[in-house]
């Protein structure tokens, strides 16, 4: 077998699928969501993933970055990703228009252990763009609502303008099978909602840990205090789940960036229980 055939024989994990941007939503002044479909219709039809899995988006000529697929597998008209404008790749993503071509390598990584969460009450604690991975699971759970107990969502951002997925927040706020608690930092102009940091609001709400699983994502500093506060509220380490981010390049556990000891966030994560993070001696 020639080596060129060898490359063809193994699916090339670095070669993205081409995809087209079919929708874009301005979520906040610096966060944009993109809805994409794979150009290969058959591939798009066969595409399957689990809530919490991520993908690498390419803007050819600029580079690749990792984003969670934040539309749920129960809604497959398109794959949605959200990007906060922070570096070169995200700045290029923000420049995209409808019809533009991007590269997608997905799905990558593990997912939320939702099968083990069936029948239990669910507490989501999110901050800023950290709502993206939670959104996937929230929508998935709402689409399979009877499988889960009470759903509580605590979500905060710096200001009203920085609250992500406003359309979803409005929907969830109206539902009587979801308890939604929104909070913003002090002095944010907008309709009166709670004021205060997410970890503080979590303590004020003080959810009981019985039969509950807590899932949190946000900026590292928020996750750090939310994990501490959940422990104080009596949540067991196995029942606290977070999803991590890191600078990633390959997405398949080789390039050496996103490791926590011998585990890789891209491949063995991004979803970890607090119990797993403690075994890995991970400190946020």
């Amino acid at each position: 077998m020639s080596s060129e055939q060898l490359i063809a024989a193994i699916k090339n994990p670095y070669l993205p699928d081409l995809a087209t941007v079919i929708g874009a939503v301005d979520e906040t002044p610096n966060i944009k969501s993109f809805r994409v479909v794979l150009n290969d219709e058959e591939k798009m039809k066969r595409f399957s993933f689990e809530p919490g899995q991520v993908g690498q988006l390419s803007v050819f000529g600029v580079g690749e970055s990792t984003f969670v697929i934040n539309s749920p597998p129960t809604r497959m008209e398109y794959l949605q990703f959200s990007a906060m404008k922070a570096g070169e790749a995200t700045a290029a993503l923000h420049e995209l228009s409808l019809g533009d071509q991007i590269g997608v390598r997905a799905p990558l990584g593990n997912w939320f252990p939702y099968r083990q969460m069936k029948g239990r009450d669910i507490l989501f604690v999110g901050g800023g763009i950290g709502l993206a991975p939670l959104r996937t699971l929230i929508l998935f759970m709402l689409d399979t609502r009877k499988d889960y107990g009470d759903i509580t969502i605590i979500y905060g951002a710096r200001s009203h303008a920085d609250l992500c997925y406003k359309k979803d927040l409005e929907d969830w706020g109206k539902r009587n099978d979801v308890e939604l608690i929104l909070t913003v930092d002090a002095n944010s102009p907008g309709p009166p909602i709670r004021e205060g940091f997410v970890p503080t609001v979590l303590n004020e709400i003080a959810p009981k840990p019985d039969h509950k699983v807590a899932i949190t994502c946000g900026p590292p500093i928020m996750i750090k205090y939310v994990l501490q506060n959940l422990a104080q509220l009596g949540f067991k380490d196995e029942d606290v789940i977070t999803t991590l981010e890191a600078r990633m390049k390959c997405g398949i556990g080789l390039c050496g960036r996103c490791n926590i000891g011998s585990s890789f966030i891209c491949k063995d994560g991004p979803v970890f229980s607090l119990a797993e993070l403690k075994r890995l001696k991970f400190e946020i």
Binding site: S3, G63, C255, G261
Partner: protein, 354 residues
């Protein structure tokens, strides 16, 4: 019976030229004062007497390589749209690494495992690796910083090579270790080597003993977990590190990489290049957050990868071949061997770093 050939020193050039007619030959070549592993050119001066500054890993895992090319094209049906075409075909030449040292071959074995024994193997590496034959030289003399025997390798270690060559008075005994190696020894330039085998065995034994005397026996003491997770230990160990990353580029087992795009007008390439975990920006996120912001944490990751993490995944194997290149190449004389030894004690300090 293993195939053995004898290469007379006066025929070395002729033999390498013959290999070069069939494949790309990588060998330690003199460049000014330095010995560097490079593709052999007609005017190259091959130098087997000193260990090369660089490792031969670049023959299989180039310092930079194109993963695929992309091209922008107007959509003929809708001229407002730009389409993208991708092409990931690559040419993979037959390659012979000539004159590696056993520590170099061990380094390649370490990278082999990382790129193949994993959920998603790396097709670029595998394609090149499948077409590579490794001819290794029994290491005649230890160099400054060498400690291969301490990490379970050795100057006459044969397990990671296709051919072992041992220097004798007027030539080299070439012993095939694999079928690839046997194919390489099919050459009219070589004489029958059987008569030299006993002599070579003696030379290998002597080389091994010299190295043991210099560096000591294999140290199988496990890393002390408390020391390994001590912040004080790493702060002290990393105190004089400049974060230049030279160690990672010289290392035969380091394989961390970066992926970047380069574009000129309507076409470009996605390129993979060696990167270094000792660089601050290696893990720096666009938000400004950096999970390994301190050099102590970066050093812990680098040494940890070689002496702890790799073994957790691969059967306790140490991902350091003791070649000593990082020691010889470090501008501030940091010694991975000293740090590794200190890690095994519950001391909390690096000996010799008071």
């Amino acid at each position: 019976m293993k195939k053995a050939g004898y290469l007379k020193k006066q025929k070395e050039k002729e033999f390498i030229a013959a290999l070069g007619a069939k494949a790309r030959v990588y060998a330690p070549c003199l460049e000014d004062e330095a010995v560097l592993f490079k593709p052999v050119e007609p005017d190259s001066v091959i130098c087997l007497s000193r260990p090369a500054v660089s490792s031969p890993k670049s023959a299989i895992y180039p310092q930079s390589e194109t993963l695929f090319s992309f091209r922008f094209k107007k959509d003929s049906e809708d001229p407002r749209r730009t389409l993208v075409e991708l092409d990931d075909t690559i040419a993979v030449p037959d390659t012979i690494i000539f004159g590696a040292r056993p520590c170099d071959a061990r380094g390649i074995a370490v990278i082999d495992r990382a790129f193949s024994k994993t959920e998603t193997p790396d097709p670029y590496y595998l394609a090149r690796r499948a077409k590579t034959t490794i001819v290794t030289l029994t290491c005649p003399e230890p160099s400054t910083g060498c400690f291969c025997t301490r990490v379970g390798c050795g100057p006459a270690e044969t397990s990671d090579s296709d051919v072992m060559m041992t220097e004798l008075e007027d030539g080299y005994l070439m012993e095939a270790l694999t079928s690839k190696g046997e194919a390489l020894l099919e050459s009219p330039i070589l004489e029958d080597g059987t008569a030299y085998e006993a002599q070579a065995k003696e030379a290998q034994k002597a080389a091994h003993e010299r190295m043991i005397k210099e560096a000591g026996e294999a140290d199988t003491t496990p890393v002390d977990p408390e020391t390994f997770h001590s912040q004080v230990f790493w702060e002290k160990a990393a105190e004089r590190c400049l974060g230049c990353g030279a160690c990672t580029y010289l290392c035969p087992t380091c394989y961390c990489f970066n992926i970047t795009d380069e574009q000129v007008v309507d076409k470009g390439e996605r390129i993979r290049s060696w990167d270094a975990c000792m660089f601050h920006h290696f893990t720096l996120e666009a938000s400004g957050h950096n999970p390994r912001a301190q050099k102590a944490l970066r050093l812990k990751n680098r040494i940890g990868h070689k002496f702890v993490y790799y073994g957790e995944k691969y059967d306790g194997i140490i991902a350091c071949s003791g070649c000593g290149r990082c020691i010889r190449g470090c501008p501030v004389s940091m010694e991975i061997s000293t740090i590794a030894a200190a890690l095994k004690k519950n001391s909390g300090t690096v000996s010799g770093e008071q």
